[in-house]
């Protein structure tokens, strides 16, 4: 079979996680096929290349038929977490060499006295930092011209020290980038292969420390991401894939690998962003637009909020414990997960976490040497998980080890095993519920009006209990929660966002100057999107302004309405409304515009699969087992359903367990389930 012969067009989404690499394949007019292969941590691209062979073998898919190849990657994040980025140099304005190390002088752990640095000094310790004479004023005027000779000398030294990339951060470059651009030209002429990150390109906004950190992180991961994506693109090409490689960025939009390599700092939340987009699309397919997604992993849980079908975007995220000022999907991580260990403290109290058995050794029931009871062990004891059907039966759990582990805390607590296991769940659920509540409070949102969407493998076990705890009445379990991030890749839009500093009191807003500034960012965004294979009629362009009260130094992103008669007045009104929503008040004090931003989007498909959902043939009920639920004194019989066989319109009531190869959904008593037309499982509290 050859590519041209079949005439088929497949779209492939690949999300690489720590343990598994998830692959989703979609064919226009057809259904969605999914595959999980073990990740290859050393060189993650190997698993991808290997999966091409499996796709041919299992699905009869010819590589030449692949039309789009979309990727969510953790390479940038892992480089930071493991401190395995490139050796970089940092060049700053004379007098400001140490900004990266001084930071904002804030310490993370309030009650600690033996301290650890709060700033990412490891990116460029003093020996790899240089300062050069140059200075812009706070109005963007040249105070001291750039000393080109000093700059080249600094670059030469850094290269001689082994720097693979250089970050340049000059004061007020976001107002006037002339010196950074001059520096780039000079260095590029001397060291054409050296990678550069310029602060006005990475993060054109005020506050020198935050901008320096973002720029240094960009340089730090650039050689690593570049190598990796080059390797992957090369591997795909050698395997016969002609489709361009696209990569998910932290904001939830895709870009060509070619561009991603230029701005790798935008890839830190590549994987989680894909999960949130997947959640959004699934929600839309069920007619639900206000969602809270929760992805429960082994050591942590990721929580994100989607309001009116829009994922919340935060202007700054935390990577490896350091704030990085790059817009990203607002995914909040809390340190509780399936591997969280239950233990007794010295006063005899039960604690769950913060220690975790992770995936190695993992829960006791994995039989890999772990003996302490984890949340997953409790799930086995409670009857939530079927040891023989874990991960679709590919991985046998040892129930007796789970029982032994839970017994080790049950005895001292004076409880029976079931009550102790239930206790572990209650404590974990309380922690996660508080985490969800905090995320909603910060956005000014009441979670009770939202639907909970469990992602990943472990979410379904806790979903109804968590929703009950939070007063939420709806849970939406996607048809394939285990690979939703990979599926999200296929539905995401291609997106480019460019912003620029544009400071003016709103009252004095000069619309002509505003339009000129937008023209500038539009040109840059258009150049970026030009490198994607997108035809202009598929494009949406939206404009935003960062606005704050005069005297305030944090701002809110407000959509710009350029068609309106009085743009400034609309902007002000919208700002007040947003301020009231997020901060709880809005006085009519003067406001100012700080940055302008353009977002160019080429829309994704908005549906996960075009084929009507069809269940597999077979019995819907596959048995009953005794399951212990919260608030009940003894286990009760629960019906076990096989998710794959449940047809659209199928209804049932809890207590029930719904099994499928990538997750198990626990339906507490008091909840009823319905399979909708798209195959989603919708649980409603009665």
């Amino acid at each position: 079979m050859t590519a041209s012969a079949s005439g088929k067009r497949f779209e492939i989404g690949v999300d690489i996680g720590g343990t598994f690499t998830d692959i989703v394949c979609r064919e226009p007019g057809g259904g969605m096929r999914v595959m999980k292969v073990p990740s290859t941590r050393k060189d993650p691209s190997q698993a991808v290349i290997r999966s091409l062979g499996l796709m041919a073998e299992k699905w009869g898919l010819a590589v030449g038929d692949i039309d789009r190849f979309i990727h969510g990657t953790t390479v940038a994040t892992n480089a930071v977490l493991e401190h395995k980025g490139a050796k970089i140099g940092l060049i700053t304005t004379s007098g400001f060499r140490d900004v990266l190390e001084i930071g904002r002088q804030y310490r993370t752990n309030v009650y600690h006295v033996v301290l650890e640095p709060s700033t990412p000094v490891f990116l460029a310790p003093g020996a790899l930092r240089r300062e050069v004479p140059e200075r812009m004023s706070a109005q963007g005027a040249v105070v001291t011209p750039l000393d080109g000779a000093a700059l080249l000398a600094a670059a030469d030294e850094l290269v001689a020290q082994g720097a693979q990339a250089i970050a340049i951060c000059f004061l007020f470059a976001f107002l006037n980038p002339a010196h950074e651009l001059q520096a780039k030209a000079l260095i590029a002429a001397r060291h054409p292969k050296l990678m550069l990150s310029l602060s006005h390109e990475v993060d054109p906004a005020f506050r020198e420390y935050e901008r320096t950190v973002a720029t240094a992180f960009d340089a730090y991961v650039k050689p690593v991401v570049d190598d990796y994506l080059a390797e992957l693109e090369g591997g795909l090409a050698r395997s016969g894939v002609n489709a361009p490689l696209q990569v998910m960025q932290s904001r939830g939009g895709l870009t060509a690998a070619q561009i991603a390599r230029e701005r790798p700092v935008r890839l830190f939340l590549s994987g989680p962003a894909a999960g949130v987009i997947g959640g959004r699309i699934v929600g839309a397919s069920a007619g639900m637009h206000d969602l809270i997604t929760i992805d429960i992993g082994g050591t942590s849980a990721d929580i994100a909020l989607i309001s009116q079908s829009k994922p919340m975007i935060r202007p700054e995220g935390i990577i490896g414990g350091y704030p990085v000022r790059v817009a990203m999907v607002d995914v909040n991580t809390i340190g509780s997960g399936g591997g969280s260990i239950a233990a007794l403290d010295a006063s005899g109290g039960l604690r769950v976490g913060p220690h975790s058995a992770g995936s190695e050794p993992g829960p006791a029931c994995y039989d890999r040497g772990g003996t302490q009871p984890t949340v997953t062990d409790a799930s086995v004891v409670l009857g939530y998980l079927d040891p023989a059907f874990f991960a679709g039966g590919t991985f046998q759990l040892k129930a007796e080890l789970a029982h032994q582990a839970v017994e080790s805390v049950a005895g001292p607590l004076g409880l029976d095993k079931a009550q102790a296991a239930l206790g572990i769940h209650r404590v974990l659920n309380a922690q996660m519920a508080e985490g969800i509540r905090l995320v909603s409070v910060r956005q000014g949102v009441d979670p009770r009006g939202y639907a909970l969407v469990p992602l990943g493998g472990a979410g379904g076990v806790h979903a109804t209990a968590l929703a009950r705890e939070l007063g939420m009445t709806r849970v939406l379990v996607p048809r394939i929660p285990g690979v939703l991030a990979a599926a999200g890749l296929l539905a995401a839009p291609i997106e480019h966002e460019v912003s620029a500093s544009f400071t003016t009191p709103l009252a004095d807003l000069d619309k002509a100057a505003l339009l000129k500034a937008l023209e500038g960012v539009d040109a840059k965004a258009a150049a970026l999107i030009g490198a994607e294979r997108v035809t202009p009629d598929e494009m949406t362009i939206s404009y935003f302004a960062d606005v704050c009260y005069i005297g305030q130094s944090y701002n809110l992103e407000i959509p710009l309405r350029l068609d309106a008669q009085d743009t400034a007045d609309h902007l002000y009104r919208d700002f007040l409304a947003a301020h009231d929503r997020v901060y709880g008040h809005a006085v009519e004090s003067p406001a100012k515009l700080v940055n302008v931003r353009t977002v160019h989007q080429a829309h994704g498909s908005e549906v996960l699969e075009e084929m009507r959902f069809a269940p597999r043939e077979g019995a819907t009920e596959v048995g009953k087992r005794h399951v212990q639920f919260a608030g009940q004194s003894a286990p009760v019989p629960a019906t076990i359903y096989d998710r794959d066989t449940l047809p659209a319109g199928f209804r049932f009531t809890g207590p029930a367990i719904v099994q499928q190869s990538d997750t198990t959904t626990v339906v507490e008593p008091g909840w009823s389930g319905l399979v909708d037309d798209a195959g989603n499982l919708i649980l409603t509290r009665q």
């Binding site: 007098g95 804030y106 309030v110 006295v113 020198e208 006063s347 409880l415 000014g444 130094s553």
Partner: protein, 561 residues
């Protein structure tokens, strides 16, 4: 539930504990989110906490240690003035007076009794540093105050709301006495919103778990933290450990240093701090009322015991304080107190310093212990007024196994600095330099963290300049044979070429072209200098933290670098 009603189920206890922490953090979010003034938004200078009906801390948000502890005596005083049985649903109480339990006048405590089914079940409380509380200078922290009446409006425990009806007399009184009434009322409303969140969610808990069970759980949580804290203290060597340190001066009598002496006794699971021997109270505003010493001791207890112990009143039961009346740690009315932060930091440093020999793994060498406060106010050439300020710190002390951290907030405070770009955009001041201060960290096997050098240049007009420094005359000491850090040092370079060394505290006027160079103290070193490895010394030289000269002089490096 199979659990008998009267026996406490350990799981429910832990579930409730997690919820209490969640509620405190939700209150904190609400407080920061709905506050208006930059000091709260940017400096995060506001805190939320939950208390039992007896006024014992039940759970704290992650916030400012000084606030969290000073709410304790505030609530005690409010409960004394308005006994619990007289409190009604919908009541709110507030106060700020340092001599009645507060800390300094800008910090207002707002306190709400929580009711469930008509019974008082807990107390929800917040403390915010307000932008202005009246008095002799904008911002209400006048460094030249000599009595509290100059510092602003003193509010004793009063009812802010009576069964839902706001006390308009009090509101009018506050509004009339502060410079920015709308901002103050806005921030007070944010406190109210946060207290409400706490009250609503606490009431839910009590309704879910029942009044008696909830009260029993609260008591149990406190007892558990007490047990864990006392057990941790019992593992420490018993004895009395002494420490002496000094503050530069009180800003009024510049030649008079302030002595702090503490005897910390660890015995039978208690930590007692006796400040006998400390200086008498001072003329200037550096006096510290007892709530400040309590904050220092609370911080010390949490710092030296396991961080996993839930922070609540149980941890603090192990504390005993002896504060001689009329001394710097227990001044007599009407001594001024507004600059007490510097003093609380020194008290905390002394308590920890006393323990550093006996707990070498937990307590590092002395921190810079300074939070340099700079204020600039003036007008642009076109007449537009500006005012700005910032708080700058120095290095942290080296630990037994790790170097100190450069320029980082320590102990009871945690404020952010001001970016150079922010300052330059808002004022006619240029920052010429923002750098680590080489050689300022105390030498030792583990080097102390470095202080900072920052240079400001006045570009336009006349600027009123206030410098409230510390550690100009008394260096942060080392531990286990490590050396002391460099003292702080600040100089004004006049455009005329004249240089004026700032004697720790100063108010003066700066003109166009004048430059101010401030250098903050480092942290103390830990362990003998002779034991620092050659690799560490060379790395420090390469990174610019230690000069080759100092490497030769202090560390005895012989090879050329």
């Amino acid at each position: 539930m199979t659990i008998a009603q009267n026996a406490l189920d350990p799981i429910t206890v832990e579930v409730v504990r997690n919820k209490l922490e969640g509620i405190a953090n939700e209150m904190q979010q609400t407080l920061l989110r709905s506050s208006f003034s930059p000091i709260v938004k940017e400096g995060l200078d506001a805190s939320a906490s939950l208390f039992t009906v007896k006024g014992e801390t039940l759970a704290q948000a992650i916030a400012i240690p000084i606030h969290l502890a000073t709410l304790i005596p505030c609530i005690a005083r409010i409960l004394k003035t308005f006994p619990l049985e007289t409190m009604q649903e919908g009541d709110l109480y507030l106060m700020n007076d340092p001599y009645l339990g507060g800390t300094h006048l800008p910090d207002i405590a707002l306190v709400q009794p929580v009711f469930a089914k008509g019974r008082a079940v807990a107390i929800s409380a917040t403390m915010t540093h307000h932008q202005d509380m009246g008095g002799m200078s904008p911002g209400s922290i006048p460094t030249n105050a000599t009595e509290i009446f100059q510092e602003g409006l003193r509010i004793p425990p009063l009812k802010y709301r009576d069964r839902g009806v706001v006390n308009e007399t009090l509101v009018a009184m506050i509004r009339q006495n502060v410079r920015i009434p709308d901002t103050v009322m806005g921030d007070l409303n944010a406190q109210l919103a946060a207290c409400n969140v706490g009250a609503r969610r606490m009431a839910e808990i009590v309704e879910n778990f029942g009044h008696d069970q909830t009260q029993a759980i609260f008591a149990d949580l406190l007892d558990r933290s007490e047990t864990l804290t006392r057990a941790a203290l019992r593992q420490m060597p018993e004895g009395t450990y002494r420490y002496v340190d000094f503050s530069d001066n009180d800003g009024i009598e510049l030649d008079k240093t302030i002595r702090f002496e503490v005897a910390v006794t660890i015995k039978d699971g208690t930590l007692s701090c006796d400040f006998t021997g400390s200086s008498p109270q001072v003329k200037g505003p550096f006096n510290c009322v007892p709530s400040g010493s309590l904050a220092a001791a609370c911080f010390a207890v949490r710092a030296i015991t396991d961080p996993q112990i839930p922070t609540n009143a149980g941890c603090f039961r192990a504390i005993e304080l002896t504060l001689p009346e009329g001394s710097i740690v227990n001044p007599v009315e009407p001594a001024p107190v507004n600059s007490r932060t510097a003093t609380i930091k020194r008290i905390t440093g002394c308590i920890l310093g006393a323990l550093k020999d006996v707990l070498p793994e937990r307590v590092p060498a002395d921190n810079s212990g300074e939070l340099l406060a700079l204020m600039f106010g003036g007008r642009y050439a076109n007449g537009r007024a500006f005012v700005t300020g910032e708080l700058i710190t120095g290095g942290s002390g080296a630990g037994l196994a790790s170097d100190g951290v450069d320029v980082i907030e320590t102990d009871v405070t945690n404020c952010m600095n001001l970016p150079a770009e922010a300052m330059e955009m808002e004022t006619p001041i240029r920052v010429n330099r923002l750098a680590l201060r080489p050689d300022s960290g105390g030498a030792g096997k583990r080097r102390g963290g470095l202080g900072l050098i920052k240079e400001y240049e006045i570009l336009e007009g006349e600027v009123t300049f206030t410098h409230r420094g510390e550690r100009h005359f008394f260096a942060p000491k080392g531990a286990n044979g490590g050396e002391a850090a460099a003292c702080a040092h600040s100089v004004i370079h006049r455009v005329s070429g004249a240089q004026e060394v700032i004697p720790s505290k100063q108010m003066t006027t700066l003109g166009k072209g004048d430059r101010v160079v401030v250098e903050t103290a480092g942290g103390g070193g830990n362990g003998p200098v002779t034991e620092r490895t050659r690799t560490d010394i060379l790395t420090d030289i390469a990174n610019g933290k230690v000069s080759p000269v100092k490497a030769r002089e202090v560390y005895g490096l012989t090879e050329p670098v």
